[in-house]
Symmetry: C2
Subunit: 254 residues, 2 copies
């Protein structure tokens, strides 16, 4: 009997962004694995075992879920947002490549979800309406020099930037350094969107500029979008402004 | 009485990727607008009017939907994938900025969805597991020089690339030119994923290399992911290979 591992994207925040495919995969599972706060978002079912784990334990969590699937069980590993974007799908692939050959025979399904940048962009308007990059600011898994080189390349070529993992207790200065770096390439009035806990009851989206962007306003639950030279802000009476990047671009506007 | 416009992401393909929020917005609408093949995916309801339009009519479609919302109606404008990624949300913002002041007072909601690159990545493994860029190859709305500059910047800095709008009847050579350009930066063995019609019954995902990538294998319904130097392929007996980009990166691997 062959087991199955579904790596399930819950989307950001509440159930309104959970796809039917993800919901079905959660219902079918005999065992659930995941970072504890994500697992808490999945309703308890008496027939399922639950295996919450800490943050930063991605490799061990992936291996444990694969090992249980290899015993023939139907296992779901939950991930916030989309599992393929700075989340569990890559950790599972790494574990398969390093693990026993039997893991390569398993039925592994990645169930996509709404990733944080799409949810934040939707709240703000359409800041990702033209070419953009998604970049993790965490230097736990890559050197800071490489982060800077990518900030330079993306901003210099006119990509809008979605910044994941902007800050954590162990990484307090990286976001400020990134804003400084981006100021070399972008005008002080470039729109910047802070999206915190989007999809949750305490969600907050704010729009500022690169010159006024305060790294202290971000935490681990924040996703930041930095516009390009083409990104625009529409003021609206009695409503939040709309931030968007037009569909057309010129060399000058890039 | 104030109208409402919801710009609704249907996700790619079938209903398994339609979020509950999107489903509710479609059910609540009094009028539906959209590119005809997308509108065909929404079940007919006798209480709703339907206004299909052609491709390439984004600006007129956005204006028509806003004009109807401004009469006090609840209008939904449907978009494939996520409306914020090379889709209708930016067209709506453009129309609001250019349109009558009353349009700025409207309740406009962007409903996010699963965008094509997430669905294709999920089918292939986790090719977007580290920093990546999303780039439209259409030069209808930007000069080709700018596309090349962005390909250079992204590939040169080690971003994985998701290529939207790779080809159309009016744009037959752009994808081949993009592969040629990328060969300046990337090894011939760099993994390339072609995802065609993902989410539909005729979906097809194939994995090749940059040296073997055939532009003729893509059409308008294809999304292409070009790996970085770090992207890996895991062969699996009796199963499609897994393509993934590890969570950690080094300067050398970039």
């Amino acid at each position: 009997m062959s087991g199955r591992l579904a790596v399930v994207g819950l989307g950001p925040g509440d159930a309104r962004w959970l796809t039917p495919e993800a919901d079905a995969a959660l219902g079918d599972a005999e065992a659930l694995y995941g970072y504890a706060p994500y697992l808490d978002r999945v309703p308890e079912r008496p027939t399922q075992t639950r295996h919450p784990s800490d943050n930063r334990e991605e490799a061990a969590r992936a291996a444990a879920a694969l090992a249980e699937a290899a015993t023939g069980r139907n296992v779901a590993l939950v991930s916030g947002g989309d599992p393929g974007v700075f989340a569990m799908a890559a950790a599972v692939c790494e574990a398969i490549e390093r693990g026993p050959p039997a893991w390569r025979a398993l039925d592994v399904a990645i169930i996509p979800g709404v990733t944080a940048m799409l949810a934040v962009a939707a709240q703000a308007g359409a800041p990702l309406g033209h070419d953009f990059c998604a970049l993790s600011l965490s230097d736990n898994l890559k050197p800071w020099d490489l982060v800077e080189r990518r900030l330079d390349a993306a901003a210099g070529a006119g990509f809008v930037l979605a910044l994941y993992n902007p800050v954590s207790r162990a990484r307090p200065w990286q976001l400020g350094a990134a804003f400084e770096r981006l100021r070399r390439h972008l005008s002080p009035t470039t729109p910047v969107v802070f999206g915190r806990a989007v999809g949750r009851s305490d969600a907050r989206v704010s729009v500022t500029t690169l010159q006024d962007a305060d790294p202290g306003a971000a935490d681990m639950a924040t996703l930041i979008i930095v516009g390009s030279a083409a990104t625009r802000v529409i003021a609206r009476p009695g409503r939040a402004p709309l931030v968007y990047t037009p569909r057309s671009a010129t060399e000058a506007g890039a």
